[in-house]
Assembly symmetry: C2
Homo-oligomer: 259 residues x 2
DNA sequence: CGGAAACCGGAAGGTCCCGTCCGTTTCCCT
DNA sequence: AGGGAAACGGACGGGACCTTCCGGTTTCCG
């Protein structure tokens, strides 16, 4: 317990989240070899996800981390939990950017900066984009952060409108619109995705300005990318293939038209 | 060889593409039961893809079409070919919309209509969106259509700029940008995707206008969604998993860091 | 009307991947 | 130093999917 070498009553579950670097999950009270491996797994996962997307098989990550599959699963009970843990950094960076934006004396400037930064993050990391769009991070860390983000975003938008620079009919949900759009542009690991994203953002920010604004069609009953529809919900953790596109879309029943 | 029933010279392969309705592929010279089944398969595929995306298992489509899996594979040698065939209609509709746009006396109006219509098509059909973004339709029908589309689009854009309504620094590749963005917004089968798409398009078209235009960052070296990177190419037809996300992203080698 | 080619459907072959089991190894505390 | 708990890793079970095979059936020409 490098954290609190109390010698007697191992302070295991005491209050682990104080490890020098970022410790998104629960690394406290782990044997040092376990902690070391956990770090290696996270690093390997981050690299793989960033480069190839979140559908990289767990076995691949395990191999690149130099551990067995079982070790990965012992530390992260499910694929989804690994993904969540791998991107918790990025997520807090997003939160940090939002805080900065809120602190900006010019709300409109803060708003623009926020959009630009977050979109740039997505453009630079394919895995983050996919994780963001994916449904399973709803609950857990992603979900909790989101609640706070929604609130802060609403405040920022209100303030930006107050300066008269952000058009009045702008909706908070339009941020989600932009983010999803950006994810679409970034989507695959196309080389020029960063440039494309920048251009997209420029177009959007231009049309968000109050001056010369024209009427818009009504916004969709859409929320932020995270917690979308409530479809078949479940499958959040189990069912392996979690993020794979198909699989889930199975029709009505198995013996629906038997023949 | 249903294609060339040598036997004598059945009018089979004469000029099949004249089958009353749309006949995207080669239904000529098929026994009537085969032709009937082919139609049922296509219909089932279209329904399934539209509703659940192109990752629906072949077996599901076969069941809903009331045929066996083998029948599907006999008619469409591979998953990809089925997808291509299923969406060939939509594709020609796109081409038609483009032609209409080109014929519009007001190029700017034609341009706007084109964007709106195509985006609406994507919003209404999840499968079409996925197929459009997917890489494998490069070759074959999709690819050929695209060449023509690129050319027509370039002309339309030039004409629209000529009227002074479309901003001068607009690039043809910005259409691809918009389409990809729209696919991102539509992405999942969210109920309100149509409304979201409409709003997205409105924002974009607003910022495409020449008046009050502001400088933009340079466009990405990006083409239309279809033929993107040339990555690991191959896998076009075979390799089952065609559209599945992961799988392909396998790391360097199998025994890369064996342990 | 009769036979052969063209068709059909279910089952089997081959991949890939998630998540668990269990014998073995490593670390930590006494 | 030594014993036990924690951790490790390879193999295994289970599930989906794509595609092919093969014996039985239907259509169509003469």
């Amino acid at each position: 317990m490098p954290d609190q070498p109390s010698h007697k009553d191992t302070p295991a579950a005491a209050h682990g989240a104080a490890d020098g670097a970022v410790d998104g999950g629960a690394a406290g009270g782990l044997r040092i070899d376990a902690r070391y491996n956990r770090e290696r797994i996270l690093r390997a996962a981050r690299e793989a996800y960033t480069a190839h997307g979140i559908d990289v098989p767990v076995a691949t990550i395990a191999r690149r981390a130099g551990v067995g599959v079982a070790t990965v699963y012992r530390r992260f009970p499910t694929r989804a939990s690994l993904v969540t843990a791998a991107f918790s950094r990025q997520l807090s960076r997003c939160a940090g950017v939002l805080d900065e934006a809120l602190a900006d004396p010019d709300p409109w400037h803060g708003f623009c900066t926020l959009i630009e930064q977050v979109c740039a993050m997505h453009a630079a990391d394919r895995g983050f984009t996919e994780a963001f769009l994916s449904e399973f991070p709803d609950s857990g860390e992603f979900g909790r952060e989101r609640a706070r983000a929604d609130e802060g975003l609403a405040r920022l938008v209100r303030a930006a409108k107050g300066t008269g620079k952000l058009r009045e009919d702008f909706e908070v949900s339009d941020v989600a619109l932009l983010l999803r759009a950006n994810c679409g542009v970034v989507g695959d690991s196309v080389p020029g995705s960063t440039a494309a994203s920048r251009r997209l953002v420029a177009y959007f920010l231009h049309s968000f300005r109050a001056e010369h604004a024209e009427p818009l069609p009504p916004p969709a009953p859409l929320d932020l990318p995270g917690p979308l529809r409530s479809r078949d919900g479940a499958r959040a953790a189990g069912s392996g293939t979690g993020a794979r596109a198909g699989t889930k879309a199975r029709g009505p029943r198995a013996a629906d038209q038997s023949r």
